[in-house]
Symmetry: C2
DNA sequence: TGAGGCGATTGAATCGTTTTAAGAACAGGG
DNA sequence: CCCTGTTCTTAAAACGATTCAATCGCCTCA
């Protein structure tokens, strides 16, 4: 069907070894021969068969990435960063979407194993350190993304959500707000709990400030809107003067409820509002939303970096990299 | 590093050929031997090396899928449908995000070629029929997704956007609306042009109905909001009594502008609003949005179906499958 | 002229699985 | 006891790129 090195070698009048050298260590080949081989490659439209290369090499030059939700811009940005860094080293990234389902997650890991991936990046859903350990024993290293490992036997790259929460509430306090509301949940989600913890820490420094927690059972627009409606129903003096939503989806729901005809709570005059994640929709909201941005692309880039190092030297000790989030101020808080 | 068939064969006391038979044609092997081999596989934690299998087979058992935008729920649903159908046939799908960039699209096609994919599904960005023809000549068939091919030399699976436009406006007319506004653009996007064409066709049957086109330069929330603000600025009698937005993002922008404090245009009482795509956000909007749903998962499923058939028999003539969209009625139009 | 050195090139072995033709073991019929 | 099937298993030959020890030229210098 398609041409092989053998065909190229025959056409160029050299041996297959030389053709391989032209492609992989050009410095070992004279320019005359190199050009002749190149011409033959072009003429035949030769494309290397990766399976054969892999078989010989013992492993693929592809990195597998499993994310919790491809629709979440945070993860697509992580993926982009990973792809960029991988490309610099001559690797490719293939993307799997676990959709927060354990069986899908397992299926992707199986696929990555039969394909003898160079390594795996994963934002884990269930507890899969056992499976990851198995993969590592078979020569496939793994790096956790957006979650620190329970045990520290794997490297991880994540963001400091406690700092993020403190950053958000610190900003509200700096704007002169004192009655802060935190809207988010469920608390089983580590990220939510951490953000709340950060919020609490920020409030502690201000004796006259209070923090009210309004729990949610999901991080969605709908849930946020319900919580917002509850605020609208209160008398003005019982309302917080600032709200920190656990993520941007929730914040958008709250915003919708506050701005609704008949509600007429002005943002940010009466209630300042800050979200988390800085998704595109946040910028595009009726009142552009102040939010906490995570260095998503950098997370992906760093994860690949660590993965490649560990693949090259499996004896390296695991590392935990934690990035700091960043405040993005827009109209909803000023 | 990891065990090979040879190790399994040695442990089970049979030849490698038998091990292969146990895995691939169990009916050729006696139960006694089969059990012995299975035990050996389990004990060694043997996992097949896909590279070797592919090398022998001549092509991978993986299908490549390139979409324009992974963040768009439409495409993730297409991907899901494709994965499901592929899994039924023992194939896997790997997902590439071209992000509407020609170079990213090309990079994925190159990757799929060196990996000797079983086939490629693609929602093309640029004109890549030349490249696809090349792939096909080298044994990798392709099926176009969500776009009919300019020439009909490739199979394609798409949705009838003209019918979708007619469906949307037909619904508005059935609700008694007569002054219809179409908000969308740019018209270079085939889908937008088709939806408008369908809208025009629907209006033709009603002598007293009018269709006003409000052009946009992008299908975004922001652009939609600007168009909505323009409607708000008009006197009531100059406003349309129903708006058909080219997609849900635009519709959400329009909705935001209409509902804004001070604007006070009631939806659907004063202006009915319908979108297109039926994304999750549409359901979650302040006023849940009527929309046109496309059978996304079925599109992916069908595309894989056709691809597998063409891979099995490359002489099959290309087929164009066109699905019909579906109206989903919510509060924004009733 | 021949030895030594050096860079460029070759050819065969290798990776792990699948496939296929050939062989072994066994049963039943004559 | 031999012959003919059947059923199960084996051994060896692929697949295509890479690698490395071996070889080939060719030049320099004694």
């Amino acid at each position: 069907m398609s041409a092989s090195v053998k065909d190229v070698a025959a056409l160029a009048g050299v041996s297959v070894g030389t053709v391989s050298n032209v492609m992989n260590r050009p410095e070992k080949v004279s320019t005359a021969v190199s050009e002749r081989v190149q011409a033959a490659i072009d003429e035949l439209g030769f494309v290397r068969n990766d399976a054969a290369r892999q078989l010989r090499a013992g492993h693929s030059s592809t990195i597998g990435l499993v994310v919790l939700d491809v629709r979440n811009p945070f993860f697509t940005d992580v993926a982009r960063g990973a792809e960029d860094r991988a490309a610099e080293g001559g690797f490719s990234v293939i993307l799997g979407n676990s959709d927060e389902k354990a069986d899908r997650e397992a299926t992707y890991l199986d696929l990555f194993e039969v394909q003898r991936m160079h390594g795996v990046l994963i934002s884990p859903f269930g507890d899969i350190t056992g499976r990851l350990r198995q993969l590592r024993d078979r020569g496939i290293p793994a790096v956790l993304v957006d979650r620190t490992s329970a045990d520290t036997s794997f490297s991880s790259v994540s963001v400091d959500d406690i700092a993020g929460g403190a950053l958000a509430v610190g900003h509200l306090l700096a704007q002169g707000r004192r009655r802060i509301g935190f809207i988010g949940g469920p608390m089983q989600i580590q990220q939510v709990a951490d953000r709340l913890e950060g919020a609490r820490a920020a409030v502690v420094g201000h004796a006259d400030a209070t923090l009210e927690v309004i729990p949610l059972d999901a991080l969605s627009v709908i849930a946020g809107r319900a919580a917002g409606a509850e605020l609208v129903a209160r008398s003005t003096k019982d309302r917080p003067d600032a709200v920190f939503a656990a993520n941007d989806l929730v914040a958008m729901g709250v915003l919708q409820a506050l701005m609704m005809q008949g509600a007429g709570v002005r943002v940010p005059e009466q209630i300042a509002l800050i979200g988390y994640d800085d998704i595109d929709f946040a910028r595009a909201a009726v009142v552009p939303l102040t939010s906490i941005r995570q260095p998503s692309a950098l997370i992906g880039r760093t994860a690949v970096e660590i993965l490649l190092e560990e693949a090259a030297d499996p004896t390296l000790p695991p590392r935990q990299v934690v990035f700091q989030p960043e405040l993005v101020v827009r109209e909803s808080t000023v």
